[in-house]
């Protein structure tokens, strides 16, 4: 039987960032994952670091998260490709133009440095975009992470900071006795923990149930499409007014098309299935935004399961009625702000004065 100060269930970016920060503050941390570190939504993500797709209220957090991503060598690892790029959000019709102006204005009110620019100005920033745009929203604070490298980077950093990792450990029960947690695994092993942090992404609904907390977490099966390597065809991160496309070219020449064109998936057995009609829609939208993309070949398509609460806002903070139990998850467009949210939760855990009232789980109970 093993013991730990803090048990974190879920080894994605949320759990990993929280664990890393706690370990750096001298705590004995164990991260548990039913698969491998960052192999769920964190590892298959589009990795876009943008304000254009962030919910307005989350902009201040996304900005801090963005800064963290741009300085990964300081807190995570040197082994991860993060690029700063200009971000262009495009509007192709009059309706979209209206939507873009309205949404950008609100995001700006929350602190995003977004400006509306003309077609001509947008073309000057990236000549590869479709000339038929009505206007664009521009933000310098944009970029991307190569999500497939997060598993490697987080594993390495966690190991260096002496975080114990229990990979391929599936939790079947959590016993709460005398202010202590006994985590029981499917393989029969047990782990004793003084504190508990739940960070199981799309599985949060099920994990919270283990503590008799019932809330809804929706599962959004997002489809991602990547092209084979090709010569440079674009130089910005492209999004669209309704927030349902993210498009960028990595340093290695591959172009990644992400966005909210769902496939099929269920949480129970992690099953995912592409929906060809939605794939094709998403490909069309991407090729419409950057016409040169049409000469490429699709190398691979995959899905990631995104978690969303009923109000599409995160749940971060203490779990009521439990001592030393916390939750973090459902951070909308969470890649950008994830590391910062993890850091905030760690600070809260350590007793610092952090306001997480916006993300309190109580609103669903």
């Amino acid at each position: 039987m093993t013991q730990t100060d803090v048990a974190i269930i879920g080894g994605g970016i949320n759990g990993g960032s929280t664990g890393l920060e706690l370990a750096k503050n001298g705590l004995d941390v164990t991260i548990i994952d039913k698969n491998f570190i960052c192999r769920g939504a964190s590892g298959v993500n589009a990795g876009t670091l943008t304000m254009h797709m962030t919910r307005a209220q989350l902009i201040p957090y996304a900005k801090k998260g963005w800064e963290l991503w741009m300085n990964t060598s300081k807190w995570l690892s040197n082994d991860i490709d993060v690029e700063k790029k200009n971000g262009l959000c495009l509007a192709f019709t009059e309706d979209e133009e209206k939507l873009l102006i309205e949404r950008s204005k609100i995001r700006k009110e929350y602190g995003a440095d977004i400006t509306i620019i003309s077609r001509k100005e947008a073309k000057r920033i990236d000549s590869n975009i479709n000339s038929k745009i009505k206007c664009a929203a521009f933000c310098e604070m944009d970029g991307y992470v190569s999500a497939n490298q997060t598993g490697h980077a987080y594993s390495k950093a966690l190991k260096e900071n002496k975080v114990k990792m229990l990979e391929n450990y599936d939790v079947s029960e959590i016993d709460y006795r005398k202010n202590k947690y006994v985590i029981i695994f499917k393989n029969g092993e047990k782990l004793f923990a003084s504190s508990l942090i739940l960070a199981t992404g799309v599985h949060l609904e099920k994990t919270l149930k283990l503590l008799q907390i019932n809330i809804n977490i929706k599962c959004l099966p997002q489809q991602l499409i990547v092209s084979e390597r090709m010569p440079k065809i674009m130089d910005t991160v492209i999004t669209v007014a309704n927030g349902k496309l993210s498009l960028k070219q990595f340093k290695n020449g591959t172009v990644l098309i992400g966005g909210g064109w769902p496939g099929k998936g269920n949480i129970e057995d992690n099953y995912t299935e592409t929906k060809p009609e939605n794939l094709i829609g998403n490909m069309m939208l991407a090729c419409h935004a950057v016409p040169k993309l049409k000469s490429s070949r699709v190398a691979r398509v995959w899905l990631g399961l995104e978690a969303e609460t009923d109000d599409a806002m995160p749940i971060i903070g203490k779990l009521p009625k439990f001592k030393n139990a916390y939750v973090i998850g459902s951070i909308h467009s969470g890649y950008t702000s994830g590391p910062y949210m993890g850091k905030l939760l760690a600070e809260k855990f350590l007793g610092k004065d952090v306001d997480l009232s916006l993300f309190d789980i109580k609103r669903f109970l």
Partner: protein
Amino acid sequence: MINNRKYDVIVIGAGPSGVSSAINCAKKGLKVLIVDLNSNSGGQIYRAPPKTYKSISKKLEESEIQKKFSNEIKKFKIETAFNHTVWQVSPGFKVNAFNETSTIQWQTKSLIIATGTYEKIIPFEGWTTPGVIGLAACTVMLKAHHFIPSKKIVLAGNGPLLMLVAYYIIQFGGKIDAIVDTSSKIDWIRSTLSLITNPKNFKDGIKWIFKIFFNRVPIYSTSSIEKAVEVDRGIKVTIKNFMTGKTKNIVSETVAIGHGLIPSTDITRLLRAEHIYNEQKGGWIAKVDRFLRSSVKGVYLAGDGAGISGALAASDKGLLASSALLYDEKIISEKEFNQYTHKILKKLDKFEVFAIAISKLNSIPKNLIENIDNDTVLCRCEDVTKKEILKAVDQGAKDINQIKSWTRLGMGPCQGRTCQYATSKVVAEYLNYEIKDLGYLTGRSPIRPVPLDRVLGDFDYEKITKVEAAPL
């Protein structure tokens, strides 16, 4: 773009097993479509020459068999979609394919997967040099396209294909500089003896060996190619005998190498069917019951896809899989099914003896894996070396999918078909693991790179399905 034509059965792959299963279903009145990447039926083994070739008096046995396939497909009114590359198969079942100009989707109740195999090639230093090709590629070049690859050639690897290719090259007027075989002469005698049960193969084998013997082709047994380098007049090959350690350099024009066959599991992995590891049957294979039903209802495996048994068994495996389908769909009675499959299973048992003998000749000696130099590229698409793989393993990558996301191995256009087998061997050897513990690459669509212009065609922005705006 989306054609909703519905079929009772879609057969993917028009080799001998695909054709026999399609005919079996069509005979019972089912609406059958057979799809293949090539421009005609026959698969790789009886691959038809290009359509522009005109046959002259001398008949090739393979071409005659292929012609029979074409005639029967016509006779039983089986619909065909040649020159179509399947890129996605989803449950239910929807099959997506593209041809030279566009993409198409068909629907079907049942699916017979007869996609055969691709070649197993263990890397060595310089195996990426242009002019180093697969032995199977060499066979296709000789028997389907009617070319010899170059005036001079070195053949390497193991198994019967080595002798078959040598035979055809000599027959067609080429010169073989060397045959480099990982097996010993004793391995050959043992295997050849066990082939006596199969007169046709035995006769062929003897024919090949005599030809090679009389042409005094230098044969290097228990040897492998250590290195290949591009030089002025072609490729300089270093041959190493791993029993004696002796090396020899030869300059030739082409190197053809192959170590047996790997069952194609692209589609069954995509459908999340269960797979098992069986070295003797070619590596990872879809798990099937005696009648070749996969773990996914309505999906059947014909031919070598669920384990290598060779070309002669292929059409019987097609009959077996399609009989299971006909029985499951209540088209034939249990009695009919039992009578029919009893006979086939008995016949297939005989072929199994032969398949085991071949798989012994194609076994991968340990030193072939150990001898791979650290700087050798394992993943050709993404240029990932053995050193980089082992570094990821040292840093904690524990299964093949983790190795994939940490190193990009298998992320290129071939989707890991060329590198998965050898990489798994290398890592298993290094960690002293079983290959089954490393798992297999998760099946991802598209199983072949899809040209975007063909999938999308010309479209108007207004016609793109709009999705609901994200919450602000």
